[in-house]
Symmetry: C2
Subunit: 436 residues, 2 copies
């Protein structure tokens, strides 16, 4: 068949976004230099995976359904047929977030989604209804949420995080500034624990103040926190567990705590919605309606495998992740130790290099004195065999021009040491290099 | 935690759509009258399902990867990690549509999606870029496509199907009318074979003319045809297999041919896209970029199970579906036979009842002389123990007020006979009933 020709300019604007091209560029560099050590992908470590576990989880869930008194016919229906739009394992997820996160909600407040990405899309679609509605994001910002906003033509307002950590005063100032412009900030997206991409964590004081400000100004908080249970220390309480005003929508993911291939996430949305007739629903009910127009329901196979894993530890994802969390903690410390050894304080000052020291999560940031752009990345991969992510990808309105994101999650200890050595050599070479 | 109160009027307009409430009503009636025989759900028949097959399919796909020379580490990665956004079983799907549907495309032209619903959303989002872009649909119309359009605030234009079948003249007239209004009809959605909800099939002559008109007017055709391989007769060739002008985007689904719970669909989009620099991509590449903002990638578990089923028959879904197709054919014939027996020509004329006689698919339509509204449905369920779907749900701009959709796919032969008897009694009672 003959191929028709369409103009890209006739396609939706989200496809012209430079972030897509830059992500593409990163993939190309990775493929072009396969021997380079890559600090780019935010993937979980492979070493704990075993395909046998998939079968064990599936069997455990099927046994569980039988123990609950379901007939073989009912179990077939649960596995094979269209399932409930909001998900079939909501009760197990509700139990799990209660024991792990002290989030106490009914199963009806939860919608199971195809990863946290679909949760973001559902939530943005439900909340952003008029031309003046805007999404606020803590910047630097995860590209998943800004991508979902672009897809729905929703304006995004940055609340830039200062070097010493998130500022509630800046958050409030941004709300007031937008209101003064006639716009309506409906929600604020934040990763409170070991953020992607910056690695930073909100203090308890910032959490309390953020919740108070959100309640006072009627702005919902979209809390996305996938790195909590894969980090070595006991995390601060979630925003949702402290949500006395009902201002937090909590986005959950099993991509880091179980495995990404399952594509299972969830959203906790227990806010009450009242219609013109005084009828009350939950925000979760409304999100499920939107889900029916996006994916209808989430794969029953994936839900079954996640359910089997939850059943194995009574919902304690924290327990299931004790070993990975310790592994990632070691990897982060090894990275920081090697950076310190290869770039000791004197040399660091001379080169104009700094980095932050997260206590968990997958990411840290390295600031340098040269442009960490795509040309620099190409030289880094080609001449030094090391790959990182330019932080500018995470600034929707510009920024991050001299910062790299390093991900420590996917590498072995040997790769980390060798990778940091290569990175240090690259930074030295780049800092001392004459301009082209 | 305290529940905040939000107004439904502040949520997105798609949530105020009456179709959602009516679908909800249908679910409620079904739950309220559990002993009623329901001709409502368009679900596949349960009887062929066996949970053991899931494990067999998974094992077959894992063995296949090993036979292809993949290491245990690579297989773990394929099952556990984030996968390619466009899907990991595109080669198997390309092989399958070649043998089953004479659609000859490269794997790169395919994006694996979370059911056909996500394919619809991707395609609409990519193509509808400006305020004047409109989607045309053959009406009565499947609610999945109109739902996706509402979600993206895309205007929908009906091309109403006359009682004697789809009219290409009406299609062209609608294009010209929209253009004259300053609007840009970008795509036309149609189910060419045994349509949901009307059960009608496009003739080969209509297919040829539709393709010619679409090419001439530069309107893409979104071909959605999930009932072809679960129907007893050899179907007419797909529009895509006759697509010499590259105007067809083909939406595929395994929900009917394998099982809905997997949530696996695909879209074939081999159209070339040229950007301002003359760079060429495929529409499938652009759809994958949009998918990265919706679900990131499709469950690797679900893809593996579908792949295992495809491998079992060398991709011949038609072969795998020989038994179900024959079962559904029998069910349709049994339904038509019983209707004819219970409502013979004389009585039919007296009551003002007519129905169409599809040769395949899951659906047929029954026209009556009274309003087939929700009150009538409630009486039907309560007094006669039989449930059907009001056809008005499938007319975005109004219509279908005296027609019911019957689905024959989910019932046993005994249920069909008993259900049609009840339906005939209901129709008699309703036709002779005095107005309230």
């Amino acid at each position: 068949m003959r191929d028709a020709m369409l103009y890209k300019s006739s396609l939706h604007a989200s496809l012209a976004d430079p972030v897509l091209d830059t992500m593409n560029f990163l993939n190309e560099v990775t493929m072009r230099y396969p021997d380079a050590i890559s600090f780019a992908p935010g993937r979980p470590y492979d070493g704990f995976f075993d395909t046998g576990h998939i079968f064990a989880h599936l069997h455990r869930y099927l046994d569980h359904l039988a123990e609950q008194g379901q007939s073989p016919q009912q179990i077939r229906t649960a596995m094979y047929q269209y399932g409930p739009t909001a998900g079939q394992i909501r009760d197990l997820i509700a139990d799990s977030v209660r024991v792990d996160e002290r989030i106490d909600v009914t199963p009806e407040s939860i919608v199971v989604t195809v990863g946290a990405q679909e949760s973001m899309l559902l939530t943005l679609r439900a909340l952003m209804s008029g031309p003046d509605d805007v999404l606020m994001v803590s910047t630097p910002c995860y590209v998943g949420i800004t991508g979902a906003a672009r897809l729905l033509d929703i304006p995004v307002v940055d609340v830039e995080e200062p070097p010493d950590g998130f500022s509630c005063a800046d958050f409030e100032a941004a709300i007031l500034r937008e209101r003064a412009r006639g716009r309506n900030p409906r929600a604020f997206y934040v990763v409170p624990d070991h953020s992607n991409p910056s690695g930073t964590t909100l203090s308890q004081r910032a959490r309390t103040e953020l919740l108070e400000l959100a309640g006072r100004h009627g702005v919902l908080i979209l809390e996305d926190s996938p790195y909590r249970l894969v980090s070595p220390e006991t995390p601060l309480p979630t925003l949702k567990s402290q949500d006395t005003d009902g201002v937090v929508v909590h986005l959950g993911s099993y991509s880091k705590t179980l495995f990404p291939g399952a594509r299972i996430g969830y959203v906790i949305a227990d806010q009450q919605i009242v219609d013109a007739n005084g009828q009350i629903t939950l925000l979760a009910d409304e999100l499920a309606k939107i889900k029916s127009m996006i994916t209808v329901n989430t794969s029953s196979l994936s839900q079954a495998v996640v359910a089997g894993a939850l059943l194995a530890t009574g919902g304690r994802m924290s327990e299931l992740n004790a070993r990975p969390a310790s592994y990632y903690g070691d990897a982060m410390r090894a990275t920081l130790r090697r950076l310190d050894r290869r770039l000791p304080p004197g040399l660091r000052a001379e080169l104009g290099v700094r980095w932050n020291s997260p206590t968990g999560g997958f990411f840290l940031n390295v600031q340098v004195s040269f442009d960490s752009d795509e040309d620099a990345l190409t030289r880094s991969a080609r001449n030094h065999g090391v790959i990182w992510t330019p932080m500018r990808y995470f600034y929707p309105s510009g920024g991050g021009h001299r910062t790299m994101r390093l991900s420590i999650s996917y590498l072995t200890p040997i790769e980390i040491d060798e990778g940091i050595d290569r990175l240090a050599t690259f930074i030295e070479s780049e800092t001392r290099r004459r301009p082209d």
